[in-house]
């Protein structure tokens, strides 16, 4: 599309044309009204004066006879000006006047008539137009008095001329203004289009230019930029997920494949096959778990899990999870303690329970004091894991504190990322997704996962805004889940 073609297609330009058309129509009708009225006024004036003169002249005839009439008409006809006079006999012969020729039949009619004529005293034989009044005098003589219409024509011409010019000026100014406005808009839109093209081509870091005027285009650009921000974050997340999937799912898959191959290659006994198959199932169960956790995180992060929100007490969640994990912790030589204060919350109970369970599992797995394995005596406190639910300001805090080695300051941020397991040996079972799931759940509820130093140890806290967890969203009405037939 040419630049001009683009220009005349802009909304601004089209709007200008519409306004221009309306304005021209208005101006034309105004001038037209003015011209028409002027013409009417002139005509009326002619009629009034001619009427008066006709009365005067026919009065002279009535009182003083034909000779006086002829004298009056002749003397008046000699005066320069636009006045026309003609007196004829009943047979149509000219007696007096300054009219040389008329359109045929004019003298036979009576009353007002507009006609072409030629003046008697003019040499060029030019034809003019006149408005004349024909009347019959007693004795059959006919009298014509009229006015030349040149003046009316000229006046009308002036108005028409003015109208033409003003219309031309209006159109030129209008189109020019339209092009000016359209180009201004078009320049900004073109800048936006250019940026969006670049973004579409893959450069997600591009942002639209925002002016300082704060007009509608700036507001649009700001909103689009916010949208781009979100898209970029989502894309980064997606990329991260796929990278991590590639990395951490391929490893067990490779192991799985190798084992199957090995079992096939070695023609062992049935027991060997059985053992290989069992390990395969075990490995694939682990894969499924990792996969489920990934899906769950993705869902929590995309906000899809917002459907099942209800009101509950964070303390109940803490009590439930404590009850579930207490024996496990004890078997591992740890003590799971519980400190709760009622802290009402609006959210997805299942997800929050799972997030807390993940934190507790982490604490049990990694929160053992370093010396426990060495068999030396460790104070009871160090073997304690504390689950705590409380309210602080407008936030509900669900925290798990252990007294293990903790996480070095530098690694704290890193720890929430997917698949990060800080012990590089990977000797402990687990998908490495526990903390990222907890973090995703906290984000879904408008909160965050905080990791801190418990000196020594780790304190992981789910901080979630109390009750109005999802800001402007009204509480979702949830029906009771039908109980399973147990």
């Amino acid at each position: 599309m040419t630049a001009f073609g683009k220009l005349i297609r802009t909304t601004a330009f089209r709007l200008t044309l519409v306004y221009l058309f309306l304005f021209a129509l208005f101006a034309a009708s105004l001038l037209g009204y003015f011209a028409w009225n002027t013409r009417r006024l002139i005509t009326e004036q002619i009629i009034t004066t001619v009427d008066a003169e006709t009365e005067e002249v026919s009065g002279i005839y009535d009182r003083r006879g034909l000779s006086r009439l002829v004298f009056t008409v002749e003397s008046r006809a000699l005066r320069p000006g636009a006045n026309l006079y003609l007196v004829t006999t009943p047979t149509g012969q000219l007696i007096a006047g300054n009219v040389g020729a008329l359109m045929p039949g004019v003298m036979a009619s009576s009353g007002w008539i507009e006609t072409a004529y030629r003046r008697l005293d003019e040499r060029d034989n030019a034809t003019h137009r006149a408005l004349v009044h024909v009347s019959q005098l007693s004795g059959g003589f006919r009298l014509l008095i009229g006015r030349d219409l040149e003046e009316r024509r000229r006046l009308f011409g002036i108005v028409a001329h003015a109208a033409q010019w003003s219309l031309l000026v209006v159109i030129v100014l209008g189109i020019g203004g339209g092009i000016f406005v359209a180009r201004r808009v078009l320049r900004r839109i073109d800048a936006m289009t250019g940026t969006t093209r670049r973004i579409m081509a893959g450069d997600l870091s591009g942002r639209l230019p925002v002016g300082r005027s704060g007009d509608e285009l700036d507001r649009l650009a700001e909103n689009l930029n916010a949208m781009l921000e979100r898209i970029e974050a989502l894309m980064m997340g997606l990329k991260e997920v796929s990278d991590n999937i590639a990395h951490d799912l391929k490893t067990p898959l490779t192991r799985l494949r190798n084992r199957a191959e090995e079992a096939l290659a070695k023609s062992g006994c049935e027991a060997d096959y059985r053992a290989a198959l069992e390990r395969t199932i075990e490995e694939s169960d682990g894969l499924i778990r990792t996969f489920n956790a990934l899906l769950m995180i993705a869902r929590a992060e995309s906000g899809q899990a917002r459907g099942n929100m209800d009101d509950f007490d964070a303390a109940d969640v803490a009590i439930g999870i404590h009850e579930l994990y207490e024996p496990l912790a004890e078997d591992d030589g740890m003590t799971l303690r519980l400190k709760t204060v009622s802290a009402p919350l609006h959210g997805n109970r299942e997800l929050i329970s799972q997030a807390l369970a993940n934190l507790v599992e982490n604490a049990i797995k990694y929160g053992k004091p370093a010396t426990v394995s060495a068999g030396s005596v460790v104070s009871l406190d160090a073997k304690q894991i504390v689950i705590e639910a409380r309210r602080e300001g407008d936030q509900v805090l669900l925290s798990v504190t252990d007294h293990g080695p903790g996480i070095p300051e530098a690694d704290l941020k890193h720890a929430v990322e997917r698949f990060v397991r800080l012990d590089s040996s990977r000797s402990q079972p687990g998908s490495g997704l526990g903390l990222s799931l907890a973090s995703a759940v906290a984000t879904l509820h408008g909160g965050e996962l905080r990791l801190g130093d418990a000196r020594p140890g780790l304190v992981a806290t789910l901080a979630i805004p109390a009750r109005t967890a999802l800001g402007d969203r009204p509480p979702v009405l949830t029906q009771d889940v039908p109980q399973k037939v147990a």
Partner: protein
């Protein structure tokens, strides 16, 4: 694996030929009879005409989706227990499935042991001692009203959760109960713990009800879960 329940008549509505054939064969091997429908319309027609103990319904089916099959069965007053199989395993999908009239929900991929255990618990043939106030397995007795548990002449002291765990196991005495089933029905959690939490609870319970007795009642079924029953496996 041996069938722990009398023979059941099952209808499997699943469009993936391979997994459907696998299920039919696996159910036959443990002594049940399984019919197969490969789309929603056929499944609905079969479910209405046949007398089945349990329907196993895939959620995404050609012609008519699983939830709509269940919905129209329920509308017509058909109360056959339904287990929904689905690749959609999230909490809200499960809730949707149960609201549509399903009785249980098992996300794919699943183990056959898990499916078998759940189907047997669902089956109409196994309406066990649900309404009884006292459950008995061997000389183990559980009174649901007074919350009293005794083995022989010994009174046992159980924590509330241990009581509920035992109650669930005894309600389904003679049937395999998986770890997930326990987590769902005793604790009401639907997530998959990465650790063996349930095993620890079971071993605590076992130490209370079986320790010091000659005949163990609480058995571990390898690769599947647990079962409480009188007699040697």
């Amino acid at each position: 694996m041996t069938a722990t329940a009398p023979e059941m008549r099952l209808l499997i509505i699943e469009d993936d030929r391979e997994s459907a054939d696998y299920l039919v064969k696996a159910f036959r091997e443990v002594g049940h009879v399984a019919d197969l429908a490969s789309d929603g319309e056929e499944g609905l027609a079969l479910a209405e005409s046949g007398d089945y103990d349990v329907l196993v319904v895939d959620r995404m089916l050609p012609k008519r989706d699983g939830l709509s099959v269940i919905g129209s069965l329920r509308d017509k007053g058909n109360r056959t227990p339904v287990l929904i199989l689905s690749a959609l395993g999230q909490v809200d999908d499960r809730i949707k499935g149960l609201r549509a009239g399903g009785d249980d929900y098992l996300p794919k991929p699943y183990s056959f042991a898990e499916l078998l255990a759940r189907v047997e618990v669902l089956s109409r043939r196994n309406v066990g001692p649900a309404e009884e106030t006292t459950y008995r397995v061997g000389d183990l007795e559980l009174d649901r009203l007074s919350h009293r548990v005794a083995r022989g002449k010994d009174e046992l002291t159980l924590q509330p959760r241990e009581f509920r765990l035992l109650e669930y196991l005894m309600k389904h005495a003679g049937q395999v109960v998986t770890r997930t089933m326990l987590l769902e029905n005793v604790w009401d959690y639907h997530f998959d713990p990465q650790t063996n939490v349930i095993d620890v609870h079971i071993s605590r319970l076992r130490s209370k009800i079986d320790k010091g007795f000659e005949r163990p009642l609480l058995h571990t079924i390898r690769g599947a879960g647990y079962m409480i029953r009188d007699g040697i496996r």
